[in-house]
Amino acid sequence: MKRALIALVMAATPAFAQRGMCRVDSSAAWAKRQRSMYSELGAAPTDSALRRSLLRAAGLTDLHPIAFELGVHVAGDAGAPSASDSSMVAQLVKLASTRGSTWPTRSVVGSYGTHSIWRLAQRDTAVGRAVLKRMMEAGPDESAAVDVATLEDRMRLAWGRKQLYGTQFLRSPEGRLSLAPMEDSAHADLRRGEAGLPPFRLSLCLSKLASGR
């Protein structure tokens, strides 16, 4: 039920939405940035076959807009990679480890393609490291900054370090969410603004809502 609630909030329609006391303003600067990052207007991906394979493996369709990233990820909720993921994950690992290979950036597979890679990396931390490095190297024009930020938080926790953007939460046995260890929360919104994430207080609010508090 709580997972369903988060999913509902994450898929908030691109209009003003209010869930309990949490105000999701889709006209805010962060929402505009995310729409711009995920927009494929005027884009012409150079590898359509790979793009289709990525979308299929990640369970994504380009018939609908990509849901807003609200910065509430719960450890374990991404699920383990399915059998259908594994060949695509293996392909990504091979690409990432091959020097001089063409990494599937936005120009190659479009925004939906790069977001599909991010979704696959959520489910498999082994590929996450390689994907994160390639996404950071590609830069903001070729990888959505919001995807890079959430993946970096996830990977840092996997490496035993603290997260930077405050997007990762832990679930207690009672189902309550708590913020995973984080560095420098005083400047969190500075970093989140740059990455196109909503204000920290919104993610905290949504996490409390999902905890039933």
């Binding site: 950071m136 930020a149 970096e152 370090r161 930077l164 420098d184 500075l190 740059e194």
Partner: protein, 239 residues
């Protein structure tokens, strides 16, 4: 009124002893940002690439490189005037090189015309950056825009010496160990130059030693990279 008269021989002896002593005493320049205006470009540094502004951190004023404003290939506003101010007639050559290095924000410290030997230190606090979180000491800045930097990168956790020559950046040497630093905490980066011998310290830990191909000579300042958001303070040059 009684006057004290020193014999000429005694005076000469006094000067002979005093002069070498005063020549050996290190001269320290500490750049204070106290009189700077928050929200404006610094007056003690000349920003050549990137958006450098004075920020308030508690009661203190600090120099902030704001990587949010970073765009590929954009030098700082008024680059031509600034280049002319520090390199006069050779400013065009300088500008061409700097444009090639537009990924790397730099601000040149005023009041240090030719650093050759001694220490340069700066305190820094990383606040963010999706691509990079870099704080560096800029030195050996030449009229043609070539320079050296020893920097810490929070996305790699290391100290590295880089050269920038004729529009090309080259890796020279990495620090002996990786040091993860938390964002929002203050640290000190320091270089020590004696002839061609260079040492790099992070929080007083010696991490880098290298023999340069030629002695250092040029302007100095602070350095960063792409979208880094870093605060700098207590820039100090000891010669």
């Amino acid at each position: 009124m009684p006057t004290m008269r020193l014999p000429i021989r005694s005076l000469a002896l006094l000067l002979a002893v005093a002069l070498p002593l005063s020549a050996q005493k290190p001269a320290t320049l500490h750049i204070s940002l106290d009189k700077e205006v928050a929200g404006r470009e610094p007056k003690q540094f000349l920003p050549m690439v990137g958006s450098w502004v004075i920020a308030k951190e508690g009661a203190r004023k600090v120099l902030f490189i704001d990587g949010r404003a970073w765009k590929r290939g954009q030098p700082a506003g008024g680059l031509a005037d600034k280049a002319r101010a520090i390199y006069g007639a050779r400013n065009e050559e300088f500008i061409e090189s700097i444009k090639a290095f537009a990924y790397f924000p730099i601000a040149v410290a005023k009041g240090v015309d030719d650093f050759r030997d001694g220490d340069i230190s700066v305190r820094f606090q990383m606040l963010g950056g999706s691509l990079d979180r870099c704080a560096g000491i800029l030195f050996n800045v030449k009229p043609n825009g070539d320079y050296l930097t020893v920097r810490f990168n929070g996305t790699e956790d290391n100290v590295v010496l880089w050269t920038f020559n004729n529009g090309t950046r080259k890796f020279v040497k990495r620090g002996t160990e990786n040091v993860p630093l938390e964002l929002g905490t203050w640290h000190t980066l320091r270089i020590s130059v004696h002839g061609t011998q260079l040492q790099g310290f992070l929080d007083d830990r010696l991490l880098l030693e290298h023999t340069l191909t030629e002695p250092v000579s040029g302007k100095v300042g602070v350095w960063s990279k792409t979208d880094s958001m870093v605060e700098f303070s207590d820039f100090t040059v000891t010669r």
